[in-house]
């Protein structure tokens, strides 16, 4: 199975084409950026596809990171992925950015708890953590860095993601031995492809995973009193 993976949820705009189970991508490109995903993504996809023999016609599945992350960023990736799936008549699956960050460090974490932490601003992180052997220590959630450190307990931890520095500082302050995984600020598109190739299209839907309610309050009042 050949998959096209797309990630625009965090601080990069990336895509790759990879065969299921292959150690390397057939074609891949990553541009580091905080904004501008909307203008960058389609030209990037055009380049990535130009370097993949067989082009779009050889793609069996589209994979996209669904968040948590920048609301705008993840909607761009998801819109593109869903449109490509529609055009190619192939399944589109979603992978959370937390699991895309976690998977590559699980192997290197050894006997440490592997943690993905994404900076959610205002001192908060989107966090998920798994123990060696795969037991979930913290399911995906939004928490303050302090709460997150408490949830992780007292064992050694290894952290990936844009919130790693913030969380590591918090962990150290309560005496926990925390290591920040190198080069792990945003998902590696090859890992997005790998997870997506294994996902079940019936359950891994390409829908945004915001983990945060929209900032909107019902308007009350405003109306003049009626008799």
């Amino acid at each position: 199975m050949r998959v096209l993976a797309i990630d625009t949820a965090l601080g990069a705009c990336s895509a790759c084409v990879a065969e299921r189970g292959a150690p390397a991508a057939i074609s891949t490109e990553t541009m580091v950026m905080e904004r501008g995903h909307a203008e960058a993504l389609l030209p990037l996809l055009e380049r990535v596809m130009a370097h993949a023999p067989g082009g779009f016609g050889a793609i069996d599945r589209v994979v996209v990171t669904v968040g948590p992350g920048s609301f705008t960023g993840l909607r761009i990736g998801i819109s593109a992925a869903r449109a490509i799936g529609l055009a190619l008549k192939v399944p589109v699956v979603g992978v959370t950015s937390l699991s895309a960050l976690l998977s590559p460090i699980v192997a290197t974490a050894g006997d440490r708890v592997a943690v993905a932490a994404i900076d959610a601003r205002h001192g908060q992180v989107f966090i998920q953590a798994v123990a060696p052997g795969g037991r979930v220590v913290v399911p995906a959630r939004l928490a303050t860095a302090r709460e997150a450190a408490r949830l992780l307990g007292s064992g050694n931890i290894m952290i990936a993601g844009s919130g790693a520095g913030l969380l590591a500082a918090e962990a150290w302050s309560v005496g926990v031995n925390a290591t920040v995984a190198p080069d792990a600020l945003f998902p590696d598109p090859l890992w997005v492809a790998r997870l997506g190739a294994l996902a079940d299209p019936a359950t891994a839907l390409p829908k945004p995973y915001y983990l945060r309610a929209p900032d909107a309050k019902p308007q009350e009042g405003g109306a003049l009193p009626r008799a």
Binding site: A38, L41, L45, S79, A83, L86, P214, P225, A227
Partner: protein, 352 residues
Amino acid sequence: MRVLGIETTCDETAAAVVETDGAGRPIIRSSEVLSQIAAHAAYGGVVPEIAARAHVEAVDHMVARALERAGVELSDIDGFAAAAGPGLIGGVMIGLTTAKALSLVTGKPLIAVNHLEGHALTPRLIEQVQFPYLLLLASGGHTQLIAVRGVGDYVRLGTTIDDAIGEAFDKVAKMLGLPYPGGPQVEREAKKGNPERFHLPRPMQGRPVADFSLSGLKTAVRQEAQKILPLRASDVSDLCASFQAAVVDVVADRTRVALRGFRDIAGHPTALVVAGGVAANMAIRRGLERLAAEAGVRLVAPPLALCTDNGAIIAWAGLERLRMGIQDDLTVAARPRWPLDASKDTRAGAKA
């Protein structure tokens, strides 16, 4: 030629397939619109983040439905048009990205359409009105008088300097406790009321430039209402009737001025066209009919489904551009503000 159009600039997720026959006459093959009105009703207006969340879940389904209803495959489409602004940027990016992706996969052209151009070219979609014509575009977000001289050739003769007309209807409805969206409710109340009970201003009346101002009128309604609190049902009807009568007068006066300005730059118009959700208002339509008769031009009011936001007008504008050889590349950016008349800088409050 056959174009798929996508519209996501506000609170409608829409897609449509429009084509031309051998003689270049337009045919709407499908037009699918999903309104989010219910999702925003509790907020008393469109909430951008809620709109964006709804668009991303719906736009691909609307495209699939539009293709299905039209009985065509994606490979039968010659170009993909999306409204690239003006509007709520989060939603605009979703529709535009969808069109870009479809264009990339199929290798067919992308056309980034100005949403206002969709409204401006609608009369040519329904009855092939010839250039030049005068357009009054009046919706919840826009109030503009535009001389339409050709595809891509627009001169703005007037705009609102504060609220849009639809916005004023919505705000008046809200202060009187009528449900959202308020325009149709105010019209319904106005039918029962006395339009002469309250003396409301006709802002900008007689000014030589065809600009609008609605916020003072809205404030005047509030002041009149405050004098007679608490409001009885008949007070609400009379306030609505008086407000609507003032708007009808303002629209006629401003459009008359624009017609005069039109002759100086474009000659005699083939028609006076009214578009946008406010065109649903029968009192305003009647006022414009009187004005058109007096000025010796024809009034063209597209059917309501084409006056409010939809994909067909975007597909049509895309088709008009594409058949002139105009297309866009994959780097084109969504524009929250995008005046139709490039010579006019956006003024504060003009909302385009």
